[in-house]
């Protein structure tokens, strides 16, 4: 993504932000509240439209009009609020928007058996694929959302605050899953306030502040304190230095 700009009314949410992601890389995207992290990622998936700038996927310019289109080239996003349909069951939610078909119709048998397999593969602790999502706890809803994102072999996964609602055990499982995906050359972006998670699995950290890209560090050559300083004090000078 090159020189992305986005305004919401009078608010300049993103100012000339550059963003790069390599295959198999785990990038931590950090910054204070309202720094523009989610906005940047929603522009990548096409949920928001950028005001200016370019989005290139594998070197090719793209112009996603909706999350539907970005998903087709293998970009998945797990939203902070999960984006699940509460009164539909787990199986239907995993296949939300791409239910398996037989002719014109939804192939329900295949949908539920495939959903069962996906959950088993990811060892998600859900009683039944027929269970309504709204009857699950927050952490399990999250598992369903993650299961949905990674069950279709995407190339890029964006996780928006994935660990905010998870227990310590569940967080560890998620981080393991991320490393597993990395082995399969899936690029991942993790938006998080928990630097320890990013330092546990990430390769690179990118810091946004008030819509600007203020710094970038390799995880192996940096410390949490340094990144924290960037988040809090980072300014435009910091950006030129980082480059």
């Amino acid at each position: 993504m090159r020189r992305i700009n986005k305004t919401f009314g009078a608010v300049q949410a993103l100012i000339d932000v550059d963003f790069k992601l390599q295959p198999g890389e785990i990038l931590g995207l950090v910054g204070d509240n309202s720094a523009g992290k989610s906005t940047l990622m929603k522009i990548l998936t096409g949920a928001y439209q950028r005001d200016s700038g370019d989005v290139l996927v594998a070197g090719k310019g793209t112009d996603f009009r909706s999350p539907h289109e970005s998903r087709e080239v293998g970009i998945e996003m797990i939203y902070q609020d999960f984006a699940l349909c509460g009164n539909m069951d787990v199986g239907q939610n995993i296949f939300l928007g791409r239910w398996p078909r037989r002719g014109l119709f939804v192939d329900r048998k295949k949908m539920y058996s495939d959903a069962g397999e996906v959950l088993q593969r990811l060892k998600v602790d859900v009683n039944s694929v027929y269970q309504k999502v709204e009857s699950l706890s927050g952490g399990r809803q999250q598992s369903v959302a993650i299961a949905r994102a990674i069950s279709f072999e995407p190339k890029v996964i964006i996780l928006d605050e994935p660990t905010a609602n998870l227990s310590v055990m569940a967080t560890e499982r998620l981080l393991e899953t991320m490393l597993e995906l990395k082995k399969h050359n899936v690029a991942q972006v993790i938006i998080s306030h928990r630097l320890q998670d990013i330092f546990a699995v990430g390769d690179r950290v990118m810091v946004l502040k008030r819509g600007r890209h203020v710094g970038e560090r390799d995880v192996s050559q940096s410390t949490q304190e340094e990144v924290l300083r960037l988040i809090v004090q980072g300014d435009a000078e910091e950006k030129t230095q980082a480059k």
Partner: protein, 341 residues
Amino acid sequence: MNAPTETAGSGAGTGRRRFEMRLSVAQRGILVAIAIFAVMFMAYAWKQPGPLTANIVNTASNKGALLALVAMAQTLPVLVGGLDLSVGAIFVLANCLASTVVVGNPVSTTFGILAVLLVGLLCGTINGAIIVYGRLQPLIVTLAMGAVYFGISLALRPQPGGSVNFELADFMTNSTLAVPHSAILLLLVVLFIWIPYRRSVLGRAAYAIGSAEQAAYMSGVPIERAKILAFALSGLLAAIGGLLLTAITYSGAAKLSIANDYTLNSIGAVVIGGTSLFGGVGSAIGSIFGAFVMRTVGDLLIVFDINPVLQPLFVGIVLLVAVCMGSLRVLRIKNKLDLYR
């Protein structure tokens, strides 16, 4: 999250539980509506003088089927989280049009029927397109479009009158071996419109939209097409109702009271049938029985010798009771915060 005990309904012994899970809110709603209808109809059959002849059943079926079709038409917009105030007007428009074009030899009658159905489909599609592309509230769009459709009906038929192919009309309203043809019509609509729709991708999408529109959008559900289709099919179903009305009355009439009456009663029938007005939960099959419940109230008043003037009062009470039964689930909710979702 680690050490999963039982995963994804694949283990043994989940059969019963699965059955319970699958008996969804909507299915319970249908069962409640069927139960109410069965009780009411038995009371009617027991109390009415003389034996229950095929004729009586047939008349009841014809009356019920009219509202049932309009109620099914109402169900689809409600499922995507809107209300359609134009179903009654489309129903009347189809009636007025049918009393003009569904006449003459079998060929012209056939084309007449197709024309009526197409007009219904078109009306619904226009509703849907305005709602989707204008990003407007279904309620206000259909209020306005309902007035437009009613205006067209009046222009078509300023005075009640017209005619219809009598053979077709009689065939639609008679019964064979005590099975009313109008009931068969309902069955056919369920088999060839509702069930395929429900199983289709866009039908499933309609439920997802009613459940959580934003989540559905983020997940790449084809929101716009699904909404337009829901309203388009609604128009088609209302038009089928209009055709049946023409067959029953042998004529067309643009009466505002009919349009309004059917629109409002359709909402009642939808609710009795277990469909949530918030969208995402429900079934057109429930609406059919909801419609029959509302219609049987009137018949019950007659056999119990209650002043028919009181009919609206009793319909209102039945509606309230049915809605209260629907909200009984509140008593079983364990987490109080869920009430405010």
